[in-house]
């Protein structure tokens, strides 16, 4: 496991949807990588902030309308059937709903904004300082892994293991 791979799995780790094996690999990496521990803390903080946002109950009228529309959308009704059922056409309906329930849309928008800000502040930009530091960290992790692997394959006794480790067969 290196930092690049951990970053790919980070959000799944935070959400708790990784397999047991993947989670163990991540945890093993976290024990020796301070930078990824920081990443994890930041991600957990973001998630906690999102969860702490106020939740608004949808008005009863909106719920009724949504429930009424679900079967219609499944059957892809024509304009005629919609009018026949007494449902207004989408163009007439959407604008006032969004305007009236703007607070309902606020939570995901705010969440997306926080996630975007977090990603922007943490993701290394190619050629930038953060990128170089993350590359150096990856090299350092590889050095430590490679030293241990080389020590091990000297005793493994299989030519293939010895060959594969020296040619970067996997991470």
């Amino acid at each position: 496991m290196n930092c690049g791979r951990f970053k790919k799995l980070l959000w799944s780790y935070v959400e708790g949807i990784l397999s047991v094996a993947e989670r163990q690999v991540c945890e093993a990496h976290l024990t020796h990588c301070a930078r990824c521990r920081q990443r994890l803390q930041a991600a957990q903080l973001t998630r906690a902030s999102l969860q702490a946002l106020p939740r608004y109950a949808a008005p009863e009228r909106l719920l009724k309308r949504v429930r009424a529309e679900i079967p219609a959308q499944r059957g892809q009704p024509t304009v005629a059937t919609m009018q026949g059922n007494g449902i207004r056409q989408p163009t007439e309906r959407l604008t006032p709903v969004i305007l009236r329930h703007w607070r309902w849309a606020l939570a995901p928008a705010l969440g997306a904004l926080i996630a975007l800000l977090w990603w922007w502040s943490h993701s290394p930009v190619e050629g930038g300082k953060g990128y170089a530091a993350s590359q150096a960290q990856e090299y350092a992790d590889t050095c430590v892994d490679l030293h241990q692997q080389l020590e091990m394959v000297e005793w493994a006794g299989t030519p293939t293991a010895s060959y594969l480790v020296t040619t970067d067969h996997t991470q």
Partner: protein, 357 residues
Amino acid sequence: MGGHAYRKLSCHDGPYTMRWLILISASAFLGCAGWAQDRPIEWLRRAVRAEQALVVQGERTTEIRLGAHTERIVERFWRQGGRAIRIEVIAPPARRGEVLLFRGEKWILYRPETKEAMPLSAPLQQHEMVLKRLLSAVQSQAMGIELRAAEMVLNRPCVVLFLQVANAVEPPHPLPPAPKPRRRRPEPVQSITLWADRATGLVLRREVRFRHRDALVRMELTRLEFPQQLPPNLFQLPEGVTIRPPGEGRFESIEEAQKAAGFPIRLPDYLPEESERAGIIVRRMRERVLVAIRYRCPQGNFTLFQTRAPSADFRLPEPPTRRPLNALFWQAGDYWFGLVGTLPKEEMERIARSIPR
């Protein structure tokens, strides 16, 4: 009198006594020979001979476990004693189909898909080498060996040999000024278990446990056949294969490694006493090349890493800590260096300072 006694015993008066003596001597000899044959070290010698002499083919799986991560290598092999070997990689999937050929003490990597072959610069580790190393460790009493209860592997009865690193704890010394005891070479291995086929001596399963972290290497044959002979073309490259120099892998000389790396390799002016170089690895990492120089040292093995740094910002935030490993990373000019090993930190710093800037 003595001559008389001899004559009396051998020819005339005691022919039965002589026969008994011969019988007892023969039994004692056979008994000793049998006991010697069953000594664990004799099984180890037998395992070495089996690797050198038997014609075998089959399949084996090797698992390399480091912490929570396990790498699984599956391969098919054909071996004409220790003279010719062919290995076809089945797993990991990314390397499936690659072929390793050994003939005339040279290893060749052959990629059938691209019809390319690369002679490998340094010899690859083989079972025979590890077994010889173990034999020498047992003979020098650096490792203890014992026989354990027999087991079956691949439906074949096996003797189980358990080897363990001798206790490295030095006995307490009397008051100073007792000379400091010479430290034993700290091998990373803790114990090795071998399952050797009782009929042939061939090792069918091996388990190596390491001192560092939760590390383990386990090899097991999953199919085994003893053909009368193997077709010679198995160990030859087919026609129309392009041969090119290796761009990465293990090298023995600095010059060869330098050619593959494409930049001058820097070496330290200072090395701890009795250190010896044990190979140079050139490995591609994305768009860059990482060079690793392995050193064995009585105080602790270590590896010196170097690469061309992409920019002034390519510095390490903090060295990873994995006890008992020490790690040191630094930048000098447009080079980036790393030093990882079980060597004491002071020695590592001394090596680092001795690398020309």
